[in-house]
Symmetry: C2
Subunit: 406 residues, 2 copies
Amino acid sequence: MRKIDPKRFKIAKRHTSREINRQIALTLIRTHQPVSRADLARLMGTRRGVVSILVNELLAEGLIFEGATGEGGGRGRKPTFLYIDSRERYVIAVDIRATRTYLMATDLLGKPLVGITSFSTNRTLGILISNLSQKIRSIVADHKAVATCQGVGVVVPGMTDPKSGRVLHAPTLGWRNVNLKDPLSTAIDLPVHIENSGRACALAQVWASRDHAHIGDLAFVSVSDGVGVGIVVNGEILRGQHNIAGEFGHVPLSIDGPRCSCGATGCWEAYVSNLATLSRYFGRNPNEQKPMSAEMATFTIEDLVSRARNGDGKALAALHSTGRYLGLGLASIINAVDPGRLYIGGEITAAWDLIESSVKAALAERALTDLAARTEIRTVSVEEHPRLRGAAALVAAPAFAAPMVA
Amino acid sequence: MRKIDPKRFKIAKRHTSREINRQIALTLIRTHQPVSRADLARLMGTRRGVVSILVNELLAEGLIFEGATGEGGGRGRKPTFLYIDSRERYVIAVDIRATRTYLMATDLLGKPLVGITSFSTNRTLGILISNLSQKIRSIVADHKAVATCQGVGVVVPGMTDPKSGRVLHAPTLGWRNVNLKDPLSTAIDLPVHIENSGRACALAQVWASRDHAHIGDLAFVSVSDGVGVGIVVNGEILRGQHNIAGEFGHVPLSIDGPRCSCGATGCWEAYVSNLATLSRYFGRNPNEQKPMSAEMATFTIEDLVSRARNGDGKALAALHSTGRYLGLGLASIINAVDPGRLYIGGEITAAWDLIESSVKAALAERALTDLAARTEIRTVSVEEHPRLRGAAALVAAPAFAAPMVA
DNA sequence: GTAATATGTCTCTTCTTTGGACAATATCCC
DNA sequence: GGGATATTGTCCAAAGAAGAGACATATTAC
């Protein structure tokens, strides 16, 4: 039961029905391919005649293509199978991180076309844009003959306003209220979409093409330098009134806890970020000003995990502790928005087998019902590049999205 | 950008466009009444001809009525004004609380028709249903001549599953997984809608008819024995996968804090519930098992507030403390879902002038941006009966809701 | 009184789903 | 091999709905 917004409603025009059904057909082709017109008619509960019109429209636009007539199975005329056409269009995904910036090109379904390239991030906006557009232009030039670029999706570790294309605040980059979209867009002459990396990761999971069982309500928790969270409600990214929705990283576990980079104390992030885990291992107060030892400065979570695997009890304890705090925070997410599934990303997932029990025990401690405590948790490894896949989805997904209506 | 659910999509049928525009017209009549057909055509950006058809449909169904031709202002034929017809239909709202159960009848816009009646709550389900249906039948009999009852909305202090009509867990009533809807519905032969009271309060604000500026994203925080929260996203109540979404009352402020009724420790509820505030005043550990003094047992928040107003420094300090914790928790809500507006209900609102500064200061401490810290907060006094208004909205609102599409 | 103007209804056109017919296959079974 | 049966995709007429504009009605300006 949704209330119609008396200021921002959308009237049903003459084309609206067609638009809706067209997108449904496209979605079903996407999730069920290979699929015939007759199959679609059965799935949609309409006549084959309408489906034919819809399909011909999609064919004319080049969004889908007809494959060879497939094996029907029973008797009767064999069906012509339909597929999403992922050859002529592609998108470029960009992941800007504090130290390096990563690029990838994918088709509309998120399948990578070329390997991931990267370069060192220069935090001066002008230089970064210049470096970036050079790389992008090179990719575009390479593909000019076969396909056209639909746009560039850029994810940033910080708060963003996708509408204006501004990065509101990215602490690790030292950016505050900078317009990233417009200068980049003019430099490369392509549409640019900006988004926070946590949300983009969530987006990547929503649109993950393999997932037949669509989960319209999910949360993605990305644990690395900070904790980024993306929430999806009703198949739509939750952005909130000020573009800060989903910042569970700064919901407290203990208001008297350690100081967080955001200025407040006891944020979840201050307990489970990579730095927090490492500090715990070194028995160091993360707020301390005194310089780190050489070992500490270069020591990574990967190192910690391998030590834990090799029998370092202190390392294992530090991981378990992080696992526990992770679970406590996940319980907050469940109690707050109760998503159908939780995804965890970040370096810590490499140690998931070690910490899963701690996570689940902590979750059960605070979840309000048994069923909620058993909310499915899936890890997304660093190698799956959820941020880049999310960046790609920023550009590719709108072609498949539901039209705004009512 | 919303993903279409490949399992639960809704095709656009021949009637769909009409349905959508009909509901938009109805919404606009609701929010802009008195309004003419020509006004609607301008608001909707369509021809007057289409509006006429939609309006005639709504007239035939008795949802709206034509008033006297109004003053146009300029020259030309005078418009015939349209209004929501709130005479022929009404709904019954029920608020079941631990000690008393309240009833009210309202029209479709939520305007009370008869005064609020109440009776002592008997926690034995059968007896309560019997008592309740007696009262309901009496109201129905009183109105039989003039109007028909559309249904009964029931709100409960606990977790509910509106679909099945079951109360999953209501600690203060001692109910666990009881079917409230079906037996009540058969007893009174009317449709029954069950909902958690926090969510219902949020619903009441969404559908508050005065509010021209529709806020599609809001949170309602109801502070009393416990802390109930209702979240609205995109004009729709957030229920979550297990019907526990919005339970911010059990998101921690400090995991090492006082024990909460839910079994966990340091929940927001354990800091700001009425009991927590009173315990703070009496310098008593709320988890203590030792019996309360006679004074403490009968002392209420209202008493505390009046003492604070009369110069009791300890009372004022206890309230300020609650205000601070309230603000810290509100910051969590803002960081998590970033609603456009926060509503606060409960007895504590009577002391809002005393604690507002504490609330806002605490909120500013933890909010991630200045803009977010300035999220509008509105109080809803106990006299406005938000729970009952929400219960009414459960039944009345579907008539105005947007149709499910795509 | 006449011109100007706004409202509400009506008609015709265009777009879209609905229902059914039909040709084009392909298999089953005798 | 041939007829019966079944399935796919297309086509056509019907009906629902928005778009565009004409027209009668009602009211004020001058």
